[in-house]
Symmetry: C2
Subunit: 575 residues, 2 copies
């Protein structure tokens, strides 16, 4: 019992104590491949976030360990990701200068706060809150963020200094204005890196497969594209002293040693101000993470528990906050690589963390001559796959309202920025949903022949009576559609002077909220003023139970609640 409940909170107990020897080689190989990807990506994303490169490495050690202990996915690869890095840059850039101590402080606070939010949401089971972001909103947001991220790397790829902004059109105008300052060597390194990355991801894989190499070897080699680019161009810059001779910007000194213990600075004004941003970061990070975790788990018929995922990611972020990192989450591409490379348990992540630790302990001097342009190329190639045209095409064909939500989110992220843009998208999709449900489908129904069946008079040959109208409402009744219901019923009454009875068929009504109940009271009174009675039929059990808690039945009298529409029509002498 105690062990079972401990296992429930610490999933690690399960996989660690039942570890099978045959899982080991898969875990080690996958851990190695992910580490090879993660070291350059971690540094690149840290730079994208406006932080020193080591912050990305520090965010790739303890957080992975924390997630292995508390998370429920067996193959999720946690660490810095592009979109969260961009969000950190947007928030911290508004409050401090890049490089200032305040800037790093904001990153640590964001990690701690979003970690705490995730943990809290997991503990009090508020995972449903992330449902507020509809798929089109996420898609529009992701595509716009990918564009912003891609363009933000232009300065590194071209070797020009541009003013700090996340507006694509400002980046473009500034770039054109400074076209003369483009550093040719940097441009060539950037272009070369992109070529190496694309070659490894595409043609190289086909070539190696055709040579019948072992799949594991193919996997290691093709995922090492970033490593190849780093080694190749770092050596080149070092050998030819391109940094001093041609002005190629390089990473420079990265401190060696264990990730530092970083106390998160306390500043109540700042914390208060960061609440909305931290909340958005946690929601966006969680959605990215849980989507990939779910899709990978189902491939092995495993289950992801959203609330345990929240706890796992929360712990990871709190770990990042206290070891000089910044907000992390489960990354899409690295998780897929982890999975396909054969990771069976979170031991793979522990191997990755160990290798990154080794890197910060002894390998950081090797990165001195690493050109910024290589990291920018890694980012650009990674975010291109985030541009999501497919969802737009699908949504456009399927539902214009959803397509509109996607496009509005996309445009507003580009126009007003990451944070406000996503809030705008969420609000727009809620408004769209309310609008959609505020005018539900209402069918006037009639009897089919002599049967007990009642169907829409517009679609079927049915019989009706002048003194009774039976309306089937295809939606639950709640505040947004209650006025529409009232208008619809009253319209029928004012159009049919002979009308004596209105029967509302409630078969599609799953609940009636307090506003709708109030409207029904009003409706009963309004109809009675015009000598018309209201009746209900086919009311679902839970809905009727709730109505019986009030004096609704008394108010309805002499109107009645009928079990079936047939019963109602017979009682009202419409046969």
């Amino acid at each position: 019992m105690a062990a079972a409940s401990l296992k429930q909170y610490i999933p690690a107990i399960d996989w660690l104590f039942n570890y099978r020897r045959e899982d080991l080689s898969g875990d080690v190989v996958a851990g190695l491949i992910v580490a090879i990807m993660l070291v350059p990506q971690g540094m690149a994303y840290a730079l994208l976030a406006g932080l020193p490169p080591e912050a990305g490495l520090y965010a790739s050690i303890l957080p992975l360990l924390m997630y292995s202990v508390f998370g429920s996915s067996r193959v999720l690869a946690v660490g810095p990701v592009a979109i969260v890095s961009l969000m950190v840059a947007a928030v911290a850039g508004d409050l401090a200068e890049v490089g200032a101590p305040q800037y790093s402080a904001v990153a640590l606070i964001l990690a701690l706060m979003s970690g705490s939010f995730l943990l809290l949401m997991g503990i009090i089971r508020l995972g449903f809150l992330v449902n507020f972001m509809s798929h089109p909103v996420i898609s529009g947001f992701t595509s716009a963020a990918a564009l912003v991220i891609g363009f933000s790397q232009l300065k590194h790829l071209l070797g020009v200094s541009l003013p700090r902004t996340h507006h694509v059109h400002e980046i473009l105008t500034a770039t054109v204005q400074r076209a003369a300052d483009i550093n040719a060597a940097t441009l060539m390194i950037g272009a070369g890196s992109i070529a190496v990355l694309l070659f490894c991801a595409g043609p190289l894989e086909r070539i190696l497969r055709n040579r019948n190499l072992a799949p594991t070897a193919v996997n290691v080699v093709t995922k090492s594209g970033p490593l190849f680019a780093v080694v190749l161009f770092t050596s080149l810059v070092w050998a030819l002293r391109l940094d001093t001779k041609l002005g190629v910007r390089v990473i420079g000194d990265i401190p060696s040693g264990l990730p530092p213990f970083s106390p998160v600075p306390w500043d109540s004004g700042l914390w208060w101000e960061l609440i909305p941003a931290a909340f958005l970061i946690s929601v966006v990070g969680f959605i990215e993470s849980v989507s990939v975790a779910k899709s990978l788990a189902s491939k092995r018929r495993q289950r992801i528990d959203a609330n345990r995922e929240l706890v796992g990611l929360g712990a990871a972020n709190i770990g990042a906050a206290y070891t000089g990192g910044y907000p992390v989450t489960g990354g899409f591409s690295r998780s897929v690589v982890n999975f396909t490379a054969g990771a069976n348990t979170p031991l793979a992540s522990l191997c990755t963390a160990g290798l990154v630790l080794l890197t910060v302990l002894i390998l950081t001097p090797l990165f001195y001559y690493l050109p910024n342009a290589v990291l920018a190329a890694i980012i650009v190639v990674a975010v291109v796959q985030l541009l999501d045209i497919k969802t737009l095409r699908h949504a456009w064909r399927y539902s214009r309202a959803d397509a509109a939500a996607l496009i509005m989110t996309f445009i507003s992220v580009l126009a007003v920025g990451i944070e406000l843009g996503i809030v705008f998208g969420i609000v727009a999709s809620l408004v769209m949903y309310l609008w959609r449900t505020s005018r539900p489908h209402v069918a006037v129904v009639g009897r089919v022949g002599d049967s007990e069946h009642f169907r829409n008079i517009e679609r079927h040959e049915v019989r009706t009576c002048k003194h009774v109208v039976a309306l089937r409402i295809d939606a639950s009744l709640y505040f947004a559609n209650t006025r529409f219901l009232e208008d619809t019923v009253l319209r029928h009454v004012s159009e049919n002077p002979e009308l004596k009875h209105v029967v509302l068929i409630c078969s599609a009504i799953n609940f009636i909220d307090a506003s709708a109940l109030e409207t029904l009271y009003d409706l009963i009174a309004e109809l009675r003023d015009g000598n018309v009675l209201l009746h209900l039929s086919e009311v679902k059990g839970p809905v009727e139970d709730r109505l019986r808690r009030t004096d609704f039945i008394d108010q309805l009298e002499p109107g009645r609640i009928f079990l079936s529409t047939d019963e109602a029509m017979r009682a009202l002498e419409c046969v």
Copy 2:
């Protein structure tokens, strides 16, 4: 044709050209009674709004004329109302000092902007936007606003000067601190006015009825409570010179003459800043107005067109803006009085406007000695009826979620103020709604005996098979509940290793949005990974039409869409 469409936009043409002689006396008497109420109320609400008393009178002339021409209700009494006045005070008080020209400018801009919003919403038929406020939110807001308004009058009733605030606890502490400054004469005038008002509204009506007076006479007398209080205490102050001798604060000079033409000042920064407030004022005003208009219209089997109401109120507010007024709407109590006093057409409102005009032309000198305490008493007695305990009691019994929305709105209006409070209430009720629909009722169903009927296995004796599970989802599928659906289906799969088929019964699904469609795609793939097939049954026509626009059917294969659950179960060999 042209006449008909003109009539559609200008309802006045209808009632004016078809005016019946027998309606005249009712209209004139009702117009008179409403004017008697409106003159003191108008001045009182203007003071509540922080404006000079004449602003309330000016807002009771042209706006009434405008509404008579464009509005669709025949008995709505337009003019200053308590809650809108409080909202104006809250907004303008943040931007300027009471009495400063900027303060009046804000009131005019608010009138013009909220008028324009209403007009625009009416023209592009956005009346549904007001549905965002659920009944509990409106009730909680109204009660809290009534409390704030009541306490804001304490300073006038006690004759002390208090710091300007809309926080009840601050008003109370400040009052206690200055208890020594209470002006005894003012206090007695205030208490006396309240006594007169309560006497006229209650006991006097019974007394006069028992004496068999004509109903019209009873009506005129009992509704004249404010007038009696004004005449009585104004004379008293004048006769005993209580203003100079005992420091009773009086209204003082009110300019005589026609309402001035007031150009609305242009200040783009200010206008921009006032957008949210003007929007809230228009929505709150519209909801108050349309509720009373609807309930009165239905008593005579007339119809209210929400979009024409928007146009009518929009025109009224624009009229107020250009004649030195401030935002107006249809008031609840005056409209009821207008109706019961026998108003048949908007001519009653024209009579009211004429009498108010007469007042500002020649009667204003009579108000010089009118004590502020009398106006405060009129406000307090009027807002007490806005305290709405009934809805809370109903909501509590019927639905805790709705009661919670009401209480949260009430508390947040008191804690963070009128504007933010109502926004908070709206957001809370949306969140509550999403939460409610994010976990829809899902029933596992089985066959009833050998019939074609399928029912919930938890409520009925039914037969099921191990290799098929049939799930009936009692909600439309959209972004907020799509994860829940996925989780539910995958839980059944992971709990039943023998499972081969999942049938989703879609009889209660009124629409599937793009997010839910995406989830269905994911679900098909996830189930297939575990060798389980997804099928649908009883899909509604419009839902299936939409699905057929995509490649959903191809993706579903070899899963199928069955017409009935019975057909599905037979095909899947579960009989």
